[in-house]
Symmetry: C2
Amino acid sequence: MNGEVLIGIDLGGTNCRAALVSLTGEILVLNKVPTKMHEGRDFFLARLFRLCDDLIQFAAREGLRVSALGMGAAGVISPTGTVTVSPNLAPLNGFPLAAAIQDQFSLPTTIANDANAIAWGEGILGAGRIFSSFLTITLGTGVGGGLILDKKLWKGTDGSAGEIGHFVVEPEGRECRCGSRGCLEQYASATGIVRTALECLERGEDSVLAGLEPEDITSLKVSEAARGGDAVALKSFRETGERLGQVLASVANLLNLDGVVITGGPAESLDLIRPWMEKEIKARAFDIPFRRMKIVRGELGEEAGILGSARLAHDELVAGKKRVDLGPAEN
Amino acid sequence: MNGEVLIGIDLGGTNCRAALVSLTGEILVLNKVPTKMHEGRDFFLARLFRLCDDLIQFAAREGLRVSALGMGAAGVISPTGTVTVSPNLAPLNGFPLAAAIQDQFSLPTTIANDANAIAWGEGILGAGRIFSSFLTITLGTGVGGGLILDKKLWKGTDGSAGEIGHFVVEPEGRECRCGSRGCLEQYASATGIVRTALECLERGEDSVLAGLEPEDITSLKVSEAARGGDAVALKSFRETGERLGQVLASVANLLNLDGVVITGGPAESLDLIRPWMEKEIKARAFDIPFRRMKIVRGELGEEAGILGSARLAHDELVAGKKRVDLGPAEN
């Protein structure tokens, strides 16, 4: 093993997971603590620093040197690593988190939006390796996205790019928690899949899911029912596929990408989604971008964010975009 | 004046316009010939070469040297300047047009999609100067688009990027000539504006436009009626604005751009479109990308394609992306 390792951190509203990661994407040790953001910023920072310190000391005991730290965080992250806005990490809003970590450990630190970190991970170590330009779509409670253009992460002017989940797919459609209507997220997320099924059940459509309490219906249960041939469950995945396809047709026409990487829980059901998705893209996109854009499942699973943020920190360091100011430079 | 000038060509299905252009965007002379593509490729090439030759000789008489030739053409243009697919220039499909021009005149030649050329022109010489990353939307018979990201033209893998006109804005909406339904073009183009008005008239809505023969109604006439307070005409521009806004909300969330430049005939009515457009973007996009994305009217008018393609050729030459192989290099 190379003597150089990285720290990768996945900071969510509920948990903060941090790992020591090799350059080839092997996780050497992974620690998890509750985020507990309600206790305030200082308590959180103390817990985060302890977590990082443990990893740095673990590395030292193994004769390894941590060369960079990367974090994927749920929210809009500025190009310099300030948390611009994060509903789930509100006490950090406006806080220069990357600078604080960098100061604490003299470690080059890169913070990205969590979906962007996943996209970078899939691009370097996962299913996006074969593409120069691709979109990663993360299907979970919501729908996240990250855009890699010409092997570079496209963060946008304020670092807020990649929000494919809030593409308008049905202008007068389902209300979205973002304040808009008919966002992709309302149809293609795990929540959206369940919502489609519940709407069918409310209309009295026959389904094995009718035997469950509504609050017990998950996208996994809908998926199992679909595999058993349940018409309502199949309809949920058809809706997901068609809506993803409508959005991806627009994306294909606008960006002419090499591919799309789909990750997250419902991506396990990509076989149920794909036929409807591809039918819509074929019907709506121009032929050249449609034929170019391959759609594949993510390969890195739950660790994509940790691996991606660690690699992003490493790659920005190598590219010379990051350096730690350790005092006045010698002339 | 600098001794160096450029040739800029706008190749459309009906006319081919070619001009001698200064580096600062001044048009020194402009010639126009009918494209007459039905006569076949060889006849067209002969006409095109004569047009270029006239400009080169004109320059020589003025003591000027043509340093590069740029063309904007209606269709998908490959990164090397082959016409991949162009419905309006079908005899050129598959033909390496840039290479043919380059061989004929030993002149570095760049061909881009016409809307991309307009975007480049507005970015260097026009309303996009203030932006690093922006989308140009060209409202005409159809809706074209060009995307500049970090001061570079985003052409996509096959050179087909920028087709904002075929964004899905209403999945079950109006049929589009591209084979899809509910494309932006069907609502926001000059044709779309007229179509909205005609649909209102067919429903018997009261309007000054009802006094015209349907085939005499143009987007300019709808605009004049709107300025006179006509309810149907105002509704047409509201529809245009709302649909543009729905698409731009998605674009803002996905790309977090600095701005949007709107050009073409109906852009003259941007004041009628803007309130509805901005209302939709505000309601649907996240606050940070919404506040960032300034929407302005194009400044270069009908010459945008000529100026943009000329500048693109120049800028690619300067960036070292283009060179003319004039025989074996000396060692």
